[in-house]
């Protein structure tokens, strides 16, 4: 209400010319119309030029139609037929050559941009991206960090994403996804058995929304992602924290009870908690997200639920009820209902929230 941005958006919505609204970046955190880095700005610049050319052609053609319809309507005043023109070679040449020239004009910067955007930028941070049904895994190979759904990047520095799709830790297995954060770059498909790359960069701090853009089955809509751009020093600090071993709870606490359940139960079959050994068991599962520093993330389950006690408790009670998944079918996808008792859930939630 008081926010001028919201108000402006409401006002725009009233504009009869939908085209104008289409080009004005307003509310919507996932908009492609408000680029926040060079790899999104370049396509946006091209689009704005082509958009206005298209508006020109639109006005010309629709204008001609409207004039023809008004001017040459049958007024019913006489029975004579109009002059029977069959065509005009000059006009045919005109409307073949002019559009071809306009398109050739658009083609030049398009091809330039295609090549420029595909080059690996200097001094880029490399992040490996793995698309799973239905969540994202990120690895920072130099720092030895692994996380899920929320990607942290340094502001003002190009990031090179090296991507593939995989499932249950089996390379080359899986389906096609597409990594898309509109404010930072166009989308790029993520394909099992192939490596694809994408450059992104954020010039301002912020939390940028994105999601999988290639239909990948049942819970495609719930495969969202976020890119969090932080100042470079904060980024380095974050890497250091994430590379560290998981924290251990104090003995005798609810969290410690949860840790026992986690390492003694089914959890370790699918999830990793790095650097911790409980009663000779290590959590090295790589089917689901790495949970080493789970509580530093704001959202979970494909970034669709906020990390808090209630959501986690509901999740652990029956995951497929909260997010459509098919753990009991082949291929087994997503977390099954483990039949946990309420006090087990309470302990596990406490443990998960202690993983900072």
């Amino acid at each position: 209400m008081g926010d001028p941005r919201t108000w402006r958006c409401r006002a725009r919505w009233l504009l009869p010319l939908a085209a104008v609204a289409a080009l004005s970046a307003c509310s919507g955190e996932q908009t492609a119309l408000d680029p926040q880095g060079p790899f999104a700005e370049r396509p946006d610049d091209l689009f704005r030029v082509v958009f206005w050319i298209a508006v020109g052609v639109f006005v010309l053609v629709q204008g001609l139609i409207i004039v023809a319809v008004l001017k040459f309507r049958d007024r019913g005043d006489d029975e004579t037929l109009p002059v029977q023109t069959h065509g005009n070679t000059k006009l045919e040449i005109l409307w073949t050559v002019i559009p071809a020239l306009i398109l050739a004009g658009i083609a030049v910067p398009t091809v330039q941009s295609i090549f420029e955007l595909s080059e690996e930028p200097d001094g880029a941070v490399t992040i490996e991206v793995f698309g799973h049904r239905w969540w994202w895994e990120y690895q920072y190979p130099e720092a030895g960090v692994e996380t899920a759904n929320e990607m942290v990047i340094p502001v003002g520095r190009p990031v090179r994403l090296v991507m593939t799709a995989e499932e249950a830790d089996q390379p080359d297995v899986g389906v096609i996804h597409s990594f898309w954060v509109p404010a930072l770059a166009g989308k790029q498909d993520v394909i099992p058995g192939r490596i694809t790359t994408l450059n992104i960069q954020a010039d301002t701090e912020g939390r940028y929304l994105g999601q999988c853009a290639e239909y990948c089955g049942l819970s495609h809509a719930n495969m969202r992602l976020r890119v969090i751009a932080v100042p470079p020093d904060e980024f380095d600090q974050w890497l250091e924290e994430q590379a560290a071993d998981a924290p251990r709870p104090d003995e005798g606490t609810l969290e410690a009870e949860g840790e026992q359940l986690f390492f003694g139960g089914a959890c370790v079959g699918c999830h990793a908690v790095r650097g911790v050994e409980v009663d000779g068991t290590r959590a090295t599962g790589n089917v689901g997200p790495d949970l080493t520093h789970f509580a530093t993330r704001e959202e979970f389950a494909g970034a669709i639920f906020e990390v808090n006690e209630d959501n986690l408790a509901e999740w652990l009670e029956d995951p497929p009820a909260m997010k459509p998944m098919t753990p009991d079918e082949r291929p087994s996808l997503g977390m099954p209902d483990l039949g946990l008792k309420p006090d087990e859930i309470r302990a596990l939630v406490a443990y998960l929230l202690s993983l900072t």
Binding site: C9, G28, Q30, A68, F72, V83, D189, A213, E214, G217
Partner: protein, 626 residues
Amino acid sequence: MASSSVAPSGSVFRRPLATKGWGSWLTTVDHKKIGKMYGFTAFAFFLIGGLEAVFIRLQLAEADASVLSAEVYNQFFTMHGITMIFLVVMPMAAAFFNFLIPLQIGARDVAFPRLNAFSYWAFLFGGLFLYSSFIFGGAPNGGWFGYAPLSTSTSGLNMAYYGVGLQILGISSLAASVNFITTILNMRAPGLTMMRLPVFIWMSLVVNFLLLFAMPVIAVALFQLTFDKVFFTSFFQAATGGDPVLWQHLFWLFGHPEVYILILPAMGMVSEILPVFSRKPLFGYAAVVFAGAAIGFMGWGVWAHHMFAVGLGPVANSAFALSTMFIAVPTGIKIFNWVFTMWGGKIRFTTPMLFAIGFVAMFTIGGLSGVMHAIVPHDAQQTDTYFVVAHFHYVLFGGALFGIMGGMYFWWPKLFGKMLDERLGKIHFWLWFVGFNLAFGPMHIAGLLGQPRRTYVYGEELGSSVERWNQVSTLGSLIIVVSVVVFIWNAWKTYRSDEIAPHDPWDARTLEWLTPTPVPEHNFDVIPTVTHRDEFWHRKYAEDDAGRAVPVPAGASEDHAAEHGEHEEHIHMPDPSYWPLVLSAGLPFIGYGVIYKSIIWAVIGLVLLLTGVYGWQLEPVAEGDE
């Protein structure tokens, strides 16, 4: 009702003789009846596909809604796409091909009448087969372009139905394409040279050549998909040496010509309607024809523009960006020629004309957003969002369906012998036009604001304006529903009315209007000799030196119609046959046999198929006058 002529000796392969009654529809080989059956069936599927669309729109009317579950939503959007493309727009075009090609070229039927019946039945059984999946465990849920490896690696047989169902429909289309190409090339009336052909016939020819070459491509891809899915082969599985991207190349190598298969028939219809109601010939006939043919050729070189996000590399992306931009040139030529057909005319705003003008206006918008997709760097933002959904609905609804609706109103009197009500027709048009723009216009904006396609929910995080545009879309879709109800009411009212349409109600230009209404089974008592493009118009009018048209009383349509019935000579028409129905009935059984790996069903299907083939070969000519 059996006719009096006696079939040859009581052979099991005796031919059916009924030309009236419900039984005659099962055995007919008359191109007009088959055309009507295509039309009715496609319209029924249109209602089903439309219902799926309404459910999709209701689910998306607000953020985080739960009208449909994820699984049902995924099945609905997949079946909506498959239905509208393969079971509505393609067979609707086939309905017009069937009805119009022989009439417009002055022929008495298509080249292979029984093959024509087979095409229809294969289409019907293919459609029923696909929809039977809803009963037997779940409809296809992998999107209408069935991307592997998703389509081959989900549990359930949903996508097996897709693989086999589309294969059956492909057989239907392939058989039809051979038939129509042969008919157009070989059965034209004397004097009807290629450059005198109605533009609809030209576009039909291009479309059927596209079908002839595109169907084998998708057939190969569908076999591979079905084998991966049912028999665990590995064409598309990276882990066992297959290539996930191969499917996309094969699919779009079919899929982009398919886009022109869907739109060119409507372009042909509009090219017939605009001159009639502008009362002057099509502007730049040769340019429109060559532009259509050019689209037919160039349509094979643009497939990878569906794959700009795949990562084919900058060279491939640039090449396909260029070819995509330049296919806009022939399309633009057509648009300008249509506009200049109206320019200087004397325009009558009948319902078919409104739909035709709507086509030109709406298709232009779809064309412009199409050019935007060629801007590869920004296509990476647009693709797989609602922007692209808006684009192809402007092409396929604003284009193909507007054209088809115009064609329905235009040829209805020739098809059914009665005029659709013009007042209801105009109400239909305006509701349709407004509903269409409200439904699909806002999708451009929703897509640019970040709403991806194929998501059963979108979060509130996308912003309130995304939700508002979605509400407008849903409202628009409901208005379209009302317009379709008006159309059905119009058709019903017309059906009940006793008023018979005149032979030439629109003062039209091409040969089909030379026939009396209703059209007799043999179409023309005497095959006309053609001396002009727009032959029928030239029998009614001549041009003076100044290009003014003056009526020629002697050639007027009413006079001509009176000639009918005077010709007593025997006209040999193809006899009805059971066998196309029997032959095509084998296909779905073979399909179930493949999907469920059941020898029994496959054998039943094969027996039906072979019986059909032998019956077809061995059946005699009823009249015995070969």
